[in-house]
Amino acid sequence: MESHDGAWSLKEVQKLEGHTDRVWSVAWNPAAGVAGVPAMLASCSGDKTVRVWEQNPSSSSWFCKAVLDETHTRTVRSCAWSPSGKLLATGSFDATTAIWENVGGDFECVSTLEGHENEVKSVCWNASGSLLATCGRDRSVWIWEVLPGNEFECASVLQGHTQDVKMVQWHPTMDILFSCSYDNTIKIWAEDGDDDWHCVQTLSEANGDDLTIKVWETDSAKMMSGDGYVPWSHVCTLSGYHDRTIFSVHWSREGIIASGAADDAIRFFVESKDGSVDGPSYKMILRNEKAHDMDVNSVRWSHGENRFLASASDDGTVKIWELVPVI
């Protein structure tokens, strides 16, 4: 990253209003905002709906393109676009995951995945879009395979966590799945060929709490060269920056970590090039104190070559920001 050692500022680009209850999550459409396609964003809420927002290319302002309602019967907790941008998965407390297809600007629910016994907490597509992972309060993680004709088949039901599974996330390049749970562990799942998924590593930090950010690393090159599984190890903890629960963290393409917390603030961190410490260390470059009127539930960087960030809050709004260096 071009290092800018000076100050940064967070510019509020627009506040998106419309949801009638807290907004839990936002997701940028990865196929939009490039090659002339207007940028697109999805947000999901306690009001049981999902809103799709689009940026008007000429005026650059955002408007609500669609409201996906009358499908989920309870809070929609998580939403994620497939890598192609053609499908949107939405996970709800009603125990189902809905799959929506973008048909020329209209969104249609093309499939409903049932199986979880209760609230679905998180949904995530793998890098190629061939698999979808879901997890929930029933302590299980489900892996679904995408088949032609928007058919979905359950490839595996993973048990192992002893409490609520809050979030699942795929590795950006390998088909390795990460899940984190109220049981204070992160589990890493990999496939041993032919639907045989199992837990290859469990990360647990005895003194973890919800006021710190932890960074882990592995030798990716070695893993991808097929030398077998290389375990992840904890390399850094960012503590002392948050005094209320951190709800969301996201890494930008340039390596800027954004965090959203219960104190209504958004913070940004970059690796500090001190070199004096063993392993990477991070410093806070900006804290936007009153980013929202209430808890910030989710922060997400845009996929493009820019520094746009979307945030979702208990205050019922979504905000679009731009992180700009102050010259």
């Binding site: 049932e114 199986g115 395979e145 088949l147 088949e153 359950c154 039901v157 048990q159 639907d195």
Partner: protein, 147 residues
């Protein structure tokens, strides 16, 4: 209860009899309790064993039934079922065949039942089937059930 003092011998004194009395009562009471405990424990264990055996058999039977129907459907029209679903059904069949029903203390039983349950949920989800083993004992007040 004999309160006459024991005959004196080397190492005993006039208090020995009282102390031995307490000891004798302790031992008698212990033996009594042990006898009753064994009998009650055995009966309770029998009830638990019957109940668990019933529930296990019922669950295995339920999966047997499902797998039987699915197996027939697959044989009737294999093209309508994906390779994955067919394989999962075969896996369930193998687990059911291999389940050590006559050896409840075989340590594999927990793992095998867990595996069956997960495969069952996965197949149901893939087929869009809403099946549930409601079980004879669920929702029934345990006091009313006796074997």
């Amino acid at each position: 209860m004999d309160v006459r003092p024991e005959p004196a011998d080397a190492g005993s004194d006039i208090f020995d009899s009282s102390l031995n009395l307490e000891d004798a009562h302790f031992r008698e009471g212990y033996a009594d309790g042990h006898r009753h405990g064994v009998a009650a424990g055995r009966e309770e264990g029998r009830q638990v064993g019957l109940k668990t055996g019933f529930e296990t058999g019922e669950e295995l039977g339920f999966y047997r039934g499902c797998v039987g129907v699915w197996g027939s459907a697959i044989r009737a029209d294999p093209t309508r079922y994906s390779a994955r679903v067919q394989k999962s059904v075969r896996t369930m069949e193998a687990l059911l065949d291999g389940y050590p029903t006559m050896e409840p203390e075989d340590e594999r039983v927990q793992e095998m039942m867990g595996h069956l349950r997960l495969k069952f949920r996965a197949v149901c989800a893939s087929l869009g089937a809403k099946l549930e083993n409601r079980g004879y004992l669920k929702g029934v007040d345990n006091k009313d059930v006796e074997f």
